[in-house]
């Protein structure tokens, strides 16, 4: 099957800093119109990967191709076509939102009138029009992150590189930013590489996910495929009363993950164990109101991948 040329391709990319191996054998691609997640714990190598993608760092081995070209050789022109949100927004608090965006518009060589029009529109889109001239020091973390996203979008890039854009945000701000990312993906037609350690975010936003750990790629596939291939656990929600005797003696391969009121969440190694679990509850005098087996999920796959990888 052939599709449009990928915007970004990493082939067996490695990165060393002295004796320390930050990345090894990283391969994945981002195609137009898709959101690819770079999923891993802190220190997995996500930020280094984004720097390599945009030609800020030179890989020690392997090859990065950005729009089919080498970002280390042609980074200055290729970076005209990428937009980046770095970790923690990285906006200078001494500037206003308008000033910061107009400065980056100058760096992107946008004509002044066009830059002003785009800045006003973007700040309006992000609900910051009335704060345009306030110093960023007075902005909340979520608002700064929105300004950082506006900065990345200012020159209409074909590829967005987002490094933990919702990290440290409160749930409401994170939800709003995720909604924005989804809207951007739907309207701008380019690709997005989204680095995150948030499984929920990866599942919700990403078309494909690259799972990385300690600089190594563990898997790269669609979230559904990852879950199907790697999640050995099934999760079942059981609403029941009088369950205590059964909890004291669960069948082998069944683990209680959570309990809230009459709701218990079990992880079961094999779905065949679910009838046995229910039978035990009933035989012990419990009353079962509802049993809901859930599909294998990305969380299970992610945890399994990290368990399998030697530390």
């Amino acid at each position: 099957m052939t599709g449009p040329d990928p915007l970004l391709v990493l082939s067996e990319v490695g990165m060393r800093f002295g004796e320390h191996t930050a990345l090894e054998g990283i391969s994945f691609a981002v195609r137009p119109g898709e959101i690819v997640g770079l999923l891993g714990h802190n220190g997995a190598g996500k930020t280094t990967t984004i720097r390599l993608c945009n030609g800020v760092l030179q890989p020690s081995s392997g090859q990065v191709r950005l729009f089919g070209r080498d970002p280390m050789r042609e980074g200055d022109s290729l970076r005209e076509r990428t937009g980046v949100v770095v970790e923690n927004a990285a906006v200078d608090e001494r500037q206003s939102a308008r000033e910061l965006l107009l400065f980056f518009a100058r760096i992107h060589d946008l004509p002044r009138a066009e830059a002003e029009e785009r800045v006003i529109r973007l700040l309006g889109d992000f609900g910051l029009a009335d704060r345009a001239d306030d110093r960023l020091a007075t902005f909340s973390r979520g608002m700064r992150q929105s300004v950082a996203l506006a900065r990345a979008l200012l020159h209409r890039p074909e590829l967005l590189l987002l490094d933990e854009p919702t990290s440290g945000l409160d749930p409401q701000a994170a939800y709003r930013l995720r909604t924005m990312i989804r809207e951007i993906s739907a309207t701008h037609g380019g690709g997005i590489l989204l680095s995150t350690h948030d499984l929920h975010e990866a599942r919700e936003l990403c078309d494909r996910v690259a799972v990385v750990r300690r600089g190594r790629l563990l898997a790269f596939a669609e979230p559904v495929e990852l879950a199907r291939r790697w999640s050995v656990e099934s999760v079942v929600h059981v609403d029941a009363e009088g369950i205590e005797p059964t909890l004291a003696e669960l069948p082998a391969g069944v683990v209680l993950r959570e309990r809230s009121g009459i709701r218990c969440v079990f992880a079961v190694r094999d779905p065949e164990l679910i009838p046995e679990l229910v039978t035990r509850i009933v035989r012990a005098g419990g009353r079962v109101h509802r049993v809901e087996p859930l599909r294998p999920d990305l969380e299970g796959a992610y945890l399994r991948l990290h368990e399998e990888e030697p530390v």
Binding site: F17, V56, L57, Q58, S60, R79, D92, I107, H108, A148
Partner: protein
């Protein structure tokens, strides 16, 4: 290299520097103290001790070429002339050097400390545009403050000496060369040192403190003059500027070659 992009970086850094108290306070206090307050104090002190034996001894230490120039003034005025026209000349050099040091520390190490450097590195600006912009941001204000300081110093000294001695001491040829040739060269030299040092310093304060080493040459000039080893006459000042320019260009070229996007992030292979 696109000069307009480099100037965009320079303009940004200058605007941000003058909004930061730890940056703008030394930029105001240094010239005010050394080029306005100090000459006022020294005029009164040297007038008070102009006829003393100590003044005679000090003038006697000076090289013959200098004491011959002082002979043209009445004995009571010689210490004032020696102080304002010669001794304060190296002190004047400290002002532009401090300006460069402070803004460069903020623009290089301070940017790294605030973690605001990375978006600049992800921009389409070339390494040369980014580096040139940051260097201009530190150097151009030093030139402006240096020339402004020279004009202010000239005005203060001339007003005071017109009142007390009945004549104008400045501008002298050596001071003009100092302000338009040597001071910009010393600032460029300080900039070169800061570019190299900032890579080692992780914070604005760290870089600023490391950078205070750049005031050493003016202090050595002060000591050398007081000890009668040399005089900052026009030729000396011109040669000092030329040597500083040569060293500055060499250090800046060396520093610029070593600086890459990854080294600016503090990462090396």
């Amino acid at each position: 290299m696109r000069p307009r992009i480099a100037f965009a970086f320079a303009e940004r850094d200058i605007r941000l520097a003058i909004r930061t108290p730890s940056v703008y306070l030394p930029l105001i206090s240094t010239p005010v103290v050394s080029l306005v307050v100090l000459p006022v104090v020294l005029v009164f002190v040297t007038r008070a001790f102009g006829d003393s034996a100590l003044a005679g001894t000090l003038i006697g230490w000076m090289p013959r070429a200098l004491s011959a120039q002082l002979d043209a003034f009445p004995a009571a005025d010689r210490l004032t002339v020696l102080t304002l026209r010669y001794f304060l000349a190296p002190l004047y050099l400290i002002t532009p050097v401090i300006v460069t040091n402070t803004i460069a520390a903020d623009g290089f190490a301070g940017e790294k400390e605030r973690k605001t450097l990375e978006p600049l590195l992800h921009s389409p600006a070339t390494d040369a545009e980014l580096l040139t912009g940051k260097m201009l941001a530190a150097w151009l204000p030093a030139v402006v403050v240096g020339i402004g300081g020279f004009l202010a110093y000239t005005a203060v000294v001339d007003i005071l000496t017109a009142i007390t001695m009945g004549q104008l001491l400045l501008p002298s040829p050596s001071w003009v060369v100092l302000a338009v040739w040597t001071a910009p060269a010393m600032s460029a030299l300080a900039l070169g040192a800061m570019v190299l040092l900032s890579a080692r310093a992780g914070t604005f304060q760290g870089a600023y403190q490391l950078g205070t080493i750049v005031v050493l040459p003016p202090i050595l000039l002060i000591a050398g003059q007081v000890l009668g080893l040399f005089v900052l006459n026009t030729l000396f000042v011109f040669v000092l500027g030329a040597v500083s320019w040569i060293l500055a260009v060499g250090i800046l070229a060396f520093g610029a070659r070593r600086i890459t996007r990854s080294s600016m992030l503090g990462l090396t292979h």
